[in-house]
Amino acid sequence: MRIAYYPGCSLKALAANFDRSARAAMGALGVELVELERWNCCGTVSSLTTDDLMRQLAPVRNLIRAQEAGERRLVTACAMCYNTLKRAALRVEAHPEELAKINAFLDEEPDYRGGVRVLHLLELLRDEVGFEAVAKRVVRPLEGLRVAPYYGCLLLRPRGVGLDDPENPSILEELVRALGAEPVDSPLKGQCCGSYHTVAHKEVVARRAHKILSEAASRGAEALISSCPLCSFNLDNRQRLIRELDGSFAPLPVLYFTELMALAFGLEEALSPEGHYVDPRPFLEERQLLRR
C-alpha cells in the first residue's frame, strides 16, 4: 500500500527519530509513506475563533497539495498535525461559504474541492493493516515489557476529530498488546502535558509531566509511548527540570509508538539515541530487547 504522508516540521528536525521509525515500521508492514510535495507547516494548534480563516490557509493549502497529487487520503504521524489538518478539512466540508472565501484568497492555487480525508497512522494500523497483521510481523516480542500509552489531547479531542473514545481510548493499548508488550493503564493518559507552555512556562509543564510520568511509573510502567513531538519533548526533555524539582524522581524513557514497533519488528537501526533526553537503549538492552 502506498499512501500520501504529511510528516510535519518537527519530524524533519528535532523529532527526526519519529519520522525515521514511522517509515521503517510502516514499510515493514508493506505500507509505503509517500511524502507530500511542497507541504507547509499545518499551523500546529487549531485556531478556535469563528472568523479566523487566515489561520485555516495553512492546513487547507496542504489539502490542496494532496488533491493536486490525486490523493484522497493524507496520513500523519504527529498527533497535532493530524488534529489541525483534520479540523480544517472537516470545517471546510461543513462550511462551503468559508471554503469559497479561502479559495478566493488562495488565488494562486487551484480551488480546494473538499474530499481529502486526514488519517493518523494509528487509524491506518487499526482499520486497514489490522493489529493481527502487526502481531504477525513481530520478530522480537516485547514480552514482559510494561508500557504506558500516553494519548494526550489531540488524538482524542474534541469529539468528532479524535480517533478514539475521548474518555476511554484503547487504540494504543491494542498496539502495545500486538507487539507482545503489556499496556499499563493510567488515568492521566489523556491529560494535557502542558503543550506550548514549554516555551515560556517550563515549570508549569514540568509539574504536569511529573504527574503524568509518576502516575504511570507508580503503576509499573517501564516506558511511555506517545504520538506527538510536543508531548514527547515535554514528557522526556522536561525530566531534567523535574529532577531539579524532585530529587527522588526516577527517569522514565519516552518513545514514539513507531519506535516501539520498529523494536518489535527487529528494526533496531530505527531506534537511535537522538531525539531522546532519557536514552531508552540501556534499559532495553538490560531487558534483552536490544542487542548491545
Binding site: 528535532l14 475563533t49 469563528t50 479531542r157 503543550s195 516555551v199 515560556a200 513531538p229 510536543l230
Partner: protein, 131 residues
C-alpha cells in the same frame, strides 16, 4: 499583569465579543463545575474555568486580567465534558483574542532563552500567545 488599563470594554461589549468570537452561548452555563473538575491546569489558575464563565455572565471585564485565559492550552477536556455543549476552549480563545487583537501579546519572541525547542512548540506558542 494589568492588561485592562488600555482596554475600554463595557460589560455588554465583553459578552457580545466573546460570543461572536467563540460562536458559543456562554449563558447556557449552569455552573456544574465539570470544566473545572477536569481541567489539568486548574491548580495553577487564579480563576477556575467555571469562574471565567461566571465573570463573563456577570460582565466583569477584569476576567481579561486573569492568568487562567493564558494557562488554558486548549486541551478540550472541558469541551468534551460540558453537559450544555459549550466549547469552553473557544471561550478561552475568544478572551485571549480580545487582548491579542488589541496588541497585548503574551509572549515575546525576542526574549526566548538558549534552549533548543521543537518547531511545534514555537509555532503553537506564537499562534496562541502573539497577536
Amino acid at each position: 499583569m494589568d492588561k485592562m488599563g488600555k482596554i475600554d470594554l463595557s460589560a455588554k461589549e465583553l459578552q457580545e465579543e466573546v460570543e461572536a468570537l467563540s460562536g458559543q452561548r456562554v449563558f447556557a452555563c449552569y455552573h456544574c463545575g465539570k470544566c473545572t473538575a477536569g481541567c489539568p491546569f486548574a491548580s495553577e489558575m487564579d480563576l477556575t474555568p467555571r469562574q471565567v464563565l461566571e465573570y463573563i455572565m456577570e460582565g466583569r471585564v477584569e476576567v481579561l486580567n486573569s492568568r487562567t485565559i493564558w494557562l488554558c492550552a486548549a486541551c478540550f477536556t472541558c469541551t468534551v465534558r460540558c453537559p450544555n455543549g459549550i466549547d469552553i476552549a473557544r471561550v478561552m480563545e475568544a478572551l485571549r483574542q480580545i487582548l491579542l487583537r488589541r496588541g497585548e501579546d503574551s509572549l515575546d519572541l525576542a526574549s526566548l532563552g538558549e534552549e533548543e525547542l521543537p518547531q511545534i512548540a514555537l509555532v503553537a506558542g506564537a499562534r496562541k500567545l502573539i497577536g
